[in-house]
């Protein structure tokens, strides 16, 4: 083969037009390559998700249709567990407690964390110190928080009632009076407010200064500026915290279980603190009704899905994302 011939061939190749089929094949090959690479990089997460989340969920859905005590082979009972749930007064009580807790705790959590974040935003150089101070309690294990609750909120000599006493207020029996158990737990949940404060603080710091300047030029006061500039600009962060805290509220377990149902309180319990997941846990691991507990878990999943879906729909109206028209 001569050099000239090679040049002729190259020229021929250069002039040759690529057919649409070939282009499509090339695109598919590239796409497959990309997919393979993506899957390869994602594989640790995918394996983890399938093994530790997806599969247990699928399996619990199956178990929810069975009578299963963990020891013996599950016995298929169809929808009997779900039917039983509808006639279980304790489950209804647990659901009511949980919804009440969430409905009160989430707004309170948002308001308090927003107030703290606004204060921190104006704290200047000391804000980093207070940021750390607010976040530290978040590091406390929930079980310890449950024990702390019993100490701090004791009606007889708890720190909270001692402080209230300084102002002439006779504090209630937070840990033993059914009417005050849930409010006590709601207040105690503010212990872990640090994470939300930091998220909101970051959102506040991201609001462009020129918007405030424009508002000032327009003669807007603090309230008007807050409602028309600050809140819309931090609404995605607020929405995130609302969603996350709603889900966490509906799944609340640790502190209440430790305080009222755990090792420190094996006999005395207060139905005011019987949250959904606590009852689920009792059914699963104390009474060994794993099938029924699985049905309960799916019931809660459904409730959370519905509430989250409603929140998402409502959010379209109130949440502003940069780039939105």
């Amino acid at each position: 083969m001569t050099g000239t011939e090679v040049r002729v061939d190259s020229a021929h190749i250069a002039r040759r037009t690529v057919t649409p089929e070939e282009r499509e094949r090339g695109r598919r090959r590239a796409s497959r390559r990309n997919l393979r690479s993506a899957l390869l990089f994602l594989s640790p997460w995918i394996v983890g998700f399938v093994v530790f989340t997806a599969w247990p969920m699928i399996y619990s859905a199956y178990l929810s249709l069975t009578d299963y005590d963990v020891i013996n082979i599950p016995e298929f009972v169809g929808l009997a567990n779900y039917a039983e749930m509808l006639n279980d007064p304790k489950l209804l009580l647990a659901l009511q407690n949980t919804v009440f807790f969430t409905a009160v705790q989430v707004p309170l959590y948002i308001i308090v964390s927003l107030v703290l974040a606004l204060l921190l935003d104006r704290a200047g150089r000391s804000s980093s110190f207070f940021r750390t101070v607010f976040f530290l309690p978040k590091m406390t294990p929930p079980v310890a928080v449950g024990v702390l609750f019993l100490l701090l909120f004791n009606g007889q000599n708890g720190l909270l009632n001692t402080v209230l006493g300084w102002f002439g207020i006779d504090g209630p029996a937070w840990t033993t009076d059914p009417a005050w158990v849930k409010p006590g737990l709601i207040l105690m949940s503010l212990w872990t407010i640090g994470a939300s404060v930091i998220i909101l603080l970051a959102a506040l710091r991201n609001v462009p200064e020129m918007l405030y300047e424009s508002a000032k030029l327009d003669g807007a006061g603090f309230w008007r500026t807050s409602m028309s500039v600050t809140l819309p600009m931090i609404s995605p962060a607020l929405f995130f915290i609302i969603i996350v805290n709603t889900i966490a509220g509906l799944q609340t377990f640790d502190e209440a279980y430790t305080a009222f149902f755990g090792a420190g309180n094996t006999t005395y319990s207060n139905d005011a603190a019987l949250f959904y997941v606590i009852y689920l846990f009792q059914q699963a691991f104390e009474f060994l009704h794993m099938g029924y507990a699985s049905a309960m878990a799916w019931g809660l999943f459904l409730v959370i899905m519905v509430i989250t879906a409603v929140q998402l729909i409502v959010s379209r109206r109130f949440v502003y994302y940069e780039g939105d028209r």
Binding site: Y68, I71, N154, T176
Partner: protein, 463 residues
């Protein structure tokens, strides 16, 4: 073509899921409770023995562990640290890898036995020659389900009356007024002993220790909350209603359970600031181990002791405690059985008592005894106790007297549900949400349903 692929993928997925379910649905499947081991007290044993739930680290535990290890010879013993975690145990059984031996509360035995998680021990008892006649009837009753023994009782727990002698004297009362023998007198004593400053309780008169001691008070009136065969709930019996009504009245007279509980929780229960040392409690029934705690942390506290007494004036206690059980599917049941025998033998208890005695003498404190599920061992140990002077000697005396007058519930397949129903009922009354009659009637229904279901399942498995 794509549709065909999707169909194939769907079918394959369904097959995989079905296979996975059948693989995951681990259960003993009727083999629960079967026991193929050879039990022979003369046999040389080997292999491994993992023990779950036993985390004793004091001299009473370690002395017996050493003895049991020697009895087992070449067996490699592994004590899984920590108290029994029922989730961990059930997961181990469900996965087909149970521990060889389980150390559990006796009130957990019925539920585990009914589900086939542990095996009946008749063959173990016969083969190893365990003399069950030495064990207390109430303790054996708690580990006997449907006529079969599922556990070897170990420690025993009983309640005694503990009171503040100074407060009693100041009120012109004796211990008889607060030991349960005369409930009207106890109601009056409660009023005489209690104190409140400006509506805030400063001295609890009498604490009947609800909800946990309802079975004790019911037994004190010659009643029971569960039938002898473990099949019939009697939560709404007159004795139960009366006992609960009386106990709640004691709390109500002191501002309600909420106030008493808050005050009770504020005490330094295990320390020098305990309720007796600080004159903050008139009287209460309490498990015998608290005598030791009080002697340890407040030896000069003005205490008075007696047994809890029936309304006829007889000593009574509601027994509780621990037991050794062998899980289904264990690979070394013979070694597990030998261990259970060794740990509860007279020799082991003798060693434990000697070790405890030496420790207490070293601390310059009295040896107040150890209560076991073995009545012969109890007598043996009782001879070794040393005097701590009064009131401690009276406390030890009351403890042993109570131990000779114990009652208990039989095991049932719905132990946990039954107890929960009882506690829920008492708590709802204590929290002011229901009357004793209403609460106990509801609990009766819940408990009976749980018992019926439990027995029905147990019997269907046996067929």
């Amino acid at each position: 073509m794509y549709r065909r692929q999707a169909r194939a993928t769907g079918v394959a997925g369904a097959v995989i899921i079905a296979l996975a379910f059948s693989g995951c649905a681990v259960g003993t499947g009727g083999a629960a409770g079967s026991d193929e081991a050879d039990y022979d007290s003369e046999a040389e044993l080997g292999g491994e023995l993992s023990v779950m739930g036993f985390s004793g680290v004091d001299e009473v535990a370690t002395s017996r562990v050493e003895y049991a290890e020697a009895e087992l010879g070449d067996v490699d013993v592994k004590l899984i640290e920590g108290d029994l975690d029922i989730q961990q145990f059930l997961s181990a059984v469900a996965s087909g890898e149970p521990p060889e031996l389980l150390y559990a509360d006796r009130d957990q035995i019925g539920s585990l036995a009914a589900r086939g998680a542990i095996i009946p021990l008749e063959r173990c008892i016969d083969g190893e020659g365990i003399d069950m006649s030495e064990f207390r009837e109430s303790a054996v009753g708690q580990v006997t389900l449907d006529g079969e023994v599922y556990g070897i009782p170990e420690f025993n727990q009983v309640q005694v009356t503990m009171a503040n002698a100074d407060l009693l004297a100041a009120a012109g009362l004796s211990i008889d007024a607060v030991n349960g023998s005369d409930r009207n007198a106890m109601t009056q004593a409660n009023l005489a002993l209690m104190k409140s400053d400006g509506g805030s309780l400063s001295v609890i008169g009498v604490d009947p220790k609800m909800p946990e001691f309802l079975p004790l008070w019911v037994a004190g009136a010659d009643g029971s909350l569960l039938s002898d065969d473990g099949r019939t709930a009697m939560l709404d019996s007159q004795e139960a209603v009366d006992a609960l009504t009386w106990a709640v009245d004691l709390y109500d007279a002191q501002g309600g359970f909420s106030a008493v509980k808050a005050f009770r929780d504020s005490a330094d229960f295990f320390g020098e600031g305990n309720q007796f040392a600080t004159n903050a409690l008139g009287a209460m029934p309490m498990e015998q181990w608290y005598i030791n705690v009080l002697n340890e942390v407040s030896p000069d506290a003005p205490l008075a002791f007696d047994t809890v007494r029936t309304t006829a004036g007889e000593p009574i206690a509601f027994a509780g405690g621990s037991a050794w059980a062998i899980p289904s599917g264990t690979e070394n049941a013979a070694a597990a059985c030998r261990w259970a025998k060794a740990m509860t033998s007279l020799d082991a208890w003798q060693l434990a008592a000697e070790a405890r005695l030496a420790t207490r003498e070293g601390e310059g404190k009295p040896f107040t005894g150890i209560l076991t599920g073995n009545s012969v061992a109890d007598e043996q140990i009782r001879e070794m106790i040393t005097s701590g002077g009064e009131p401690w000697d009276a406390g030890v005396e009351a403890m042993y007297e109570a131990n000779d007058h114990t009652v208990s519930w039989p095991a049932s397949p719905a132990d946990a549900e039954f107890e929960q129903a009882m506690q829920d009922a008492v708590n709802s009354v204590l929290n002011g949400e229901a009357s004793p009659e209403e609460a106990l009637a509801d609990a009766q229904e819940t408990a009976q349903q749980a018992l019926d279901e439990g027995w029905e399942k147990l019997e269907s498995r046996e067929q």
